[in-house]
Symmetry: C2
Subunit: 328 residues, 2 copies
């Protein structure tokens, strides 16, 4: 079978992660990285060409799948529909509330161009969504629980950095182990927002800033922190760089349900991730779905798709008979 | 959408579990239970008809999917290929080494009859296989670990009961928590058979039987117990009935892999099940795949299938747009 030739649009954390992931997959070839920056300013880690994004359409014959590695706020709403008309695409669109609208646009473009566009790939949305879906279909009577972390939340870290007197900062979302244990026992607890997660902030204050005021302002920030137990730790810029520069994340998805005539039998399905690098792991998920997008398109399965539409075998480089023999 | 009308072949633990599961799924209707026993001798828990298995072919127009609930040793090798020609089927064939051969036979029959036959559904093979496959596709560099239990192994319980002087008995396979913890830390340990699981036996001895000899004979039994640390507990028949009549099971699937240029970033994917009733949970999985078999067949996707071939959305009674809105 010939290789799946991919392109990367957007060279941030995810784009760099995809570039690294290609080296672990011998059936995938990275053709080019597309950027809005002057191409010669990019320091890449592979022999792939670096091209102006405006020249992407010249690559429709040499790229099988374009991986859209930009952000959900402004990049993808524009790039998704635009590129799905020219290329098979995979993206990480993660603004939950806008998924239906985004799907419709990508679907229309992909159908018009005879392409396959898989949206909202990663781990949440993505693997976590798949597990919620499978588990609910298997145990129709039951409760769902999702916990995130311990991991860095970009949105909350940004919020900290907007507080006057804050030079730099990072925020970890942390699930309560006791809450997870209560779910694991099958007791189906009702858990409030405050009982599920707490928030750990590491803050570098400007010289002479009023730390008491900063701490209070963070802890009382509506939407972000007011509904949680929050700790604020003041540290030095060096400490931040040395101990908080990785981007770990993870989480837990549970379905706790019952079967049988008398509801006597309880069952717990648990799925969890513990990731040293959120963007690198997400990139590896994207790459598996790039393989699937290519195969689905060759089989005439065009239009917008999600993780719910992709047969699992399409994620693997192994043949169906190998999978049955080795993994079933 | 019209209901999926199912039939059950074989009224043992799984057949009864499917019968109960139907009551949790309003889009599925149980039409009939087929048995080799005299139909009037079956005490069922639903208004479904009980029919001689030899009359099944008269139901090809009134049943959309036949659930084959017999055993893998002798029932399914015969029934799978036989019924896949007449009905869409779902089964729990779990003799790993014979899956390729079994698949080929079911596939040939299903193709000849224009039907869809999904084989080897349940949790292992089944959900565990899916998780192994997905995880390996996402993290191509890494190690797989599967632990089973704590749960009843029928094969090992049967082996105990064949020992002279044993009146009754049950065996639990139990994973070592310490081994699971070592995998969770990402240390990628090499684990021997003895280090992964131990075996707990509860034995009812015949009066005047030599318990020391029974214990030694169990512990030294090749293939079944000799390679494991095994405990043998002698109990009364009453104790066995009271405390060991449920069929709990479960287990853990791990993928521990790395990404990035320097292998610096490790990731752990963990999936686990904790089941009060192995057969009832397995039955619920079967029922979700019955829904999928029906839909795949309506869409012209005929032949033999496995969990690797089924798009996940086909397991759910919800529409694709509902799934995207609520679960993605």
């Amino acid at each position: 079978m010939s290789k799946t030739r991919i392109g990367i649009i957007g060279y941030g954390n995810i784009g760099r992660g995809v570039e690294a992931a290609v080296k672990q997959n011998s059936d995938i070839e990275l053709v080019a990285i597309f950027t809005r920056r002057p191409p010669e300013t990019l320091q890449t880690n592979s022999p792939a060409k670096v091209i102006m994004i405006s020249d992407a359409e010249r690559y429709t014959d040499s790229i099988d799948v374009m991986l859209l590695c930009g952000g959900s706020a402004t990049d993808l709403p524009e790039q998704g529909p635009q590129f799905a008309r020219m290329f098979n695409t995979v993206d990480t669109f993660d603004t939950h509330a806008r998924i239906p609208e985004y799907f419709d646009k990508v679907n229309a473009s992909a159908l018009a161009g005879g392409k396959t566009g898989i949206i909202s790939v990663g781990w949440d949305p993505g693997l976590f969504s798949m597990l919620r879906m499978i588990s609910g279909a298997i145990l129709p009577k039951g409760m769902d629980y999702t916990f995130w972390g311990k991991g860095v939340s970009q949105g909350h870290s940004d919020a900290i950095r907007r507080v006057p007197g804050v030079k730099n900062g990072i925020q970890y979302t942390v699930p309560f182990k006791t809450a997870i244990e209560r779910v694991r026992t099958g007791s189906n607890p009702e858990l409030s927002t405050r009982e599920k997660h707490f928030r750990e902030c590491y803050v570098v204050a400007e010289e002479d800033a009023d730390k008491t005021r900063i701490e209070a302002e963070i802890k009382n920030m509506p939407n972000y922190f007011a509904d949680y137990n929050t700790t604020v730790n003041f540290i030095t810029e060096e400490d931040l760089k040395k101990n908080h520069s990785k981007m770990p994340h993870g989480g837990f998805v549970f379905r706790s349900g019952f079967t049988g005539e008398s509801k006597a039998n309880n069952h717990i399905i648990e799925f969890s991730l513990k990731l040293d690098s959120n963007p690198e792991f997400t990139s590896n998920v994207l790459l598996a779905y790039a393989r699937a997008a290519h195969r689905m398109n060759r089989e005439g399965l065009t239009g917008g798709k999600t993780v719910f539409d992709v047969p699992l075998s399409y994620l693997s480089p192994q043949s169906n008979s190998e999978l049955r023999r080795k993994l079933l």
